[in-house]
């Protein structure tokens, strides 16, 4: 089984550096980047229609243009639960607002809330528990 992860974030620098760090931690992970929630959701919808498999991990930013992290979570929660059976969603945001943290943890599909920047050590721990 291939190791796959999605990064949903509009920050180019973050995309670049996070992907790099991820490949350092585990070079086998197939990483896919989406610019915002809408791009990612369209992909997920197509995936569910074609019965394709979801990645083991989704790293989701909250503050994005067009469709933000919240809207993405809402749309995704409306899909068949079984699709996400083997998927862990991690919120990765620069927001340290308690409100955001509590709100994120209230979603069933959300595994954890990570505050940017995510250290390499934390990422290693995470990868180890999900693959």
């Amino acid at each position: 089984m291939t190791k796959a992860a999605y990064i949903i974030d509009d920050d180019r620098i973050y995309q670049y550096s996070f992907e790099k760090i991820l490949s350092i931690v585990d070079a086998e992970i197939d990483c896919r980047i989406f610019q915002n929630g809408e791009e990612a959701f369209q992909h997920c919808k197509n995936l569910s229609n074609s019965l394709g498999s979801f990645p083991q991990i989704i790293f989701l930013d909250l503050n994005m243009p067009v469709m933000d992290g919240w809207d993405f979570l809402d749309e995704l929660s409306a899909l068949d639960e079984k699709l996400l059976e083997n998927t862990s969603i991690y919120i990765v945001s620069s927001s340290i607002d308690e409100y955001d943290i509590n709100k994120a943890k209230a979603y069933k599909v959300v595994e954890d809330y990570l505050v940017k920047p995510v250290s390499k050590a934390k990422l290693e721990e995470l990868i180890a528990s999900n693959f």
């Binding site: 550096s17 790099k20 350092i24 390499k120």
Partner: protein
């Protein structure tokens, strides 16, 4: 045959009772329940013969409800016993007036058909009854009033030394009706000393000189209670001038005396309260003239009593407070109210004004005639001053609170912006730093370093924006001037000319207002941002059309920029519309600074901004400057 027979009977009866005046005759056939009345009967009972059905029931229904049961059974009894029927009862005439009827004859016979016929007579005795009743009730009333007023009488016959007291007199002495005391003992009930000496002398003078007396004296009655009596005595003499009888009236006036002394006491108390009261009090004439001011009032107003008596309350009332009081006083005089109460200002002798709480009550005679006014005047000057200070302090506090709420909101916004917009580049820098440490090859390191530079620039830019926003926020109300709208709009047009032409945008102006009071730099920046946004987010399928409109209504001066562009889903984005670095379009130029700055600038000029938008239809941003001379001063 039956008719002939009944006529026969009637004639017989008329002969029988012919000596009676206005006598109604009736006949009753028991077997057939048929009641026959003559003309007089109908007159006595005030019944129209056409309405009469000739049954026992007809009579029964005419009798007074309280008497009908007894009258009926008296009638039945005499029918059964074949005895005489004499009975007096009441009936109600057609006007529901009571009439007294005396039924006083009964003859029972059997007619040729073998049916039992009863014959009788009725007489209206209302007039006799009424007179008798009136007399009885008059006597009763007299006795009642004597009892109530406790007026008794007595007689004394010197020759035989016999004295007689009526029941009420005995009752006043505290004696039982059957008890009897001689005149000499009666004297001992008068209180020892002045009272007894007075009555002894008066009674002696009555017997010897026939001098009548009328005295009010204290007594101790048989029950040991102290009472007051009014005793009146007069003498009756014979032809020789000798006293044969003395008699008099004896009245218990204890209650009257008690009330009298209570009244004196309450008057005394009132006078003391009036004179020594801490609050000002005065008797005033109905026209407002001071009649009797107390010491406290004299001190309060600073006028002497003599001076006050020359004045009325009107001349000492502050002009603005006078109308209200005169209105109340008029209602009092018209009897609509008994008293009134108001806060008002008096003018003291030294010309200063004094806040008082005034309470005025109308005093009326027993005949309800307005006599004079009692005014109570309480000094509330300090309270009023404190009240005003409190209101002022409250107002200031409210202002301060409002400002704090605003600042708090700004701080919240700022904290939010700092959290989101500063943390992001900082997080990137940290991440890049870690990456730099984990990367070996030079090419990658260079790439990472390039990223660090870009991140640092981002950070710098964000900080600059925040600083700009803070500067705007802290310069509220600065550099405001009267701007000509046309000039302002032309300037903006000039600056955007390049982009307007290149995008083939059409801009229309509807300026119903000539000028506004604002900061010129901010206004230009706001318009460039709004018009710029409209062009930036034009709908790809159509030419951009923009309308800039200015108008004025009761809410203030409005300035709006409308477009037919992409529009924004306000349900999703409305809440964060004006936040820093918020972007709602996939446009690569979107940096999210514009609207945040626009809002900061509008608010710095005491305006407000709102947005209406519909996806794929267009957006309208409206700025409102509320009407206030301080912020913008058109045509004022």
């Amino acid at each position: 045959m039956a008719i002939a027979n009944s006529k026969l009977y009637s004639e017989a009866i008329i002969g029988l009772v012919g000596n009676l005046v206005d006598l109604g005759i009736w006949q009753y056939n028991m077997e057939r329940d048929h009641l026959q009345w003559d003309e007089v009967m109908f007159r006595i009972y005030d019944v129209d013969p056409k309405d009469f059905k000739h049954t026992f029931r007809d009579w029964h229904d005419l009798v007074h409800p309280e008497d009908v049961e007894e009258a009926s059974s008296a009638f039945q009894d005499s029918v059964k016993s074949n005895g005489e029927f004499i009975y007096t009862f009441r009936i109600l005439d057609s006007q529901k007036n009571i009439r007294w009827i005396k039924a006083n004859a009964l003859i029972s016979e059997v007619n040729p058909q073998g049916e039992r016929i009863i014959t009788g007579a009725n007489q209206d005795i209302s007039s006799f009854t009424r007179i008798k009743q009136e007399q009885e009730s008059l006597m009763e009333t007299l006795k009642d009033s004597q009892r109530t007023a406790r007026i008794g009488s007595w007689q004394y016959f010197p020759e035989t030394n016999v004295s007689v007291m009526d029941e009420i007199t005995k009752d006043i002495y505290g004696l039982k009706p059957q008890e009897h005391i001689p005149a000499s003992e009666g004297i001992t009930f008068y209180k020892e000393g002045w009272s007894r000496e007075t009555i002894l002398k008066a009674f002696g003078d009555l017997l010897q000189k026939q001098t009548p007396y009328d005295l009010e004296l204290p007594m101790i009655n048989a029950k040991g209670e102290e009472i007051w009596v009014r005793t009146i005595g007069k003498a009756k003499t014979n032809a020789k001038g000798e006293v044969v009888k003395t008699s008099g009236v004896f009245q218990d006036i204890t209650e009257h005396k008690r009330r009298e002394s209570e009244l004196i006491e309450s008057q005394r108390k009132f006078k003391a309260a009036f004179d020594h009261s801490a609050i000002g009090m005065a008797l005033m004439a109905l026209n407002g003239a001071w009649l009797k001011p107390n010491t406290a009032l004299i001190e309060l107003l600073g006028f002497s009593e003599v001076e006050l008596l020359q004045l009325d309350f009107q001349s000492l009332t502050v002009a603005e407070d006078l109308a209200e009081e005169i209105g109340l006083l008029e209602q009092c005089l018209e009897g609509k109210i008994d008293s009134y109460r108001l806060d008002k200002r008096f003018i003291k002798k030294d010309g200063s004004k004094l806040w008082v709480l005034l309470n005025v009550s109308m005093v009326r005679s027993a005949e309800d005639e307005a006599l004079y006014l009692i005014a109570q005047i309480e000094d509330i000057n300090d309270r009023k001053i404190h009240e005003r200070e409190l209101v002022e302090a409250n107002r200031k506090l409210k202002q301060l609170t409002d400002r704090l709420i605003n600042q708090n909101r700004s701080l919240n916004d700022f904290a939010h912006i700092a959290s989101h917009n500063l943390r992001a580049p900082v997080a990137n820098l940290m991440l890049l730093n870690e990456l730099y440490g984990s990367t070996e090859d030079t090419a990658s390191k260079d790439e990472i370093f390039e990223m660090v530079s870009r991140s640092t620039e981002d950070l710098q830019k964000t900080l600059d924006q925040l600083v700009d926003a803070l500067i705007i926020k802290n310069k509220r109300g600065m550099d405001m001037q009267q701007l000509t709208l046309k000039q302002l709009v032309d300037g903006v047009n000039q600056k955007l000319q390049q982009v307007i032409l290149s995008t083939n945008t059409e801009i229309d102006y509807d300026l119903q207002v000539d000028s506004l009071f604002a900061n010129p730099v901010y206004m230009e920046s706001i318009l460039i941002n709004l018009i710029g946004n409209s062009i930036k987010y034009k709908h790809p399928q159509r030419q951009a059309e923009i309308l800039v409109k200015a108008w004025e209504n009761e809410k203030g001066l409005h300035l709006s920029v409308s477009d037919n562009g992409l529009g924004i889903d306000l349900k999703r984005h409305g809440r964060k519309m004006f936040g820093l670095n918020k972007t709602f379009h996939k446009n690569s130029n979107a940096n999210g600074v514009g609207l945040f700055m626009v809002k900061s600038q509008v608010e710095a000029m005491n305006g407000s901004i709102s947005v209406e938008s519909e996806p794929n239809v267009g957006s309208t941003f409206t700025i409102v400057f509320r009407r206030s001379k301080k912020t913008w001063g058109l045509d004022d």
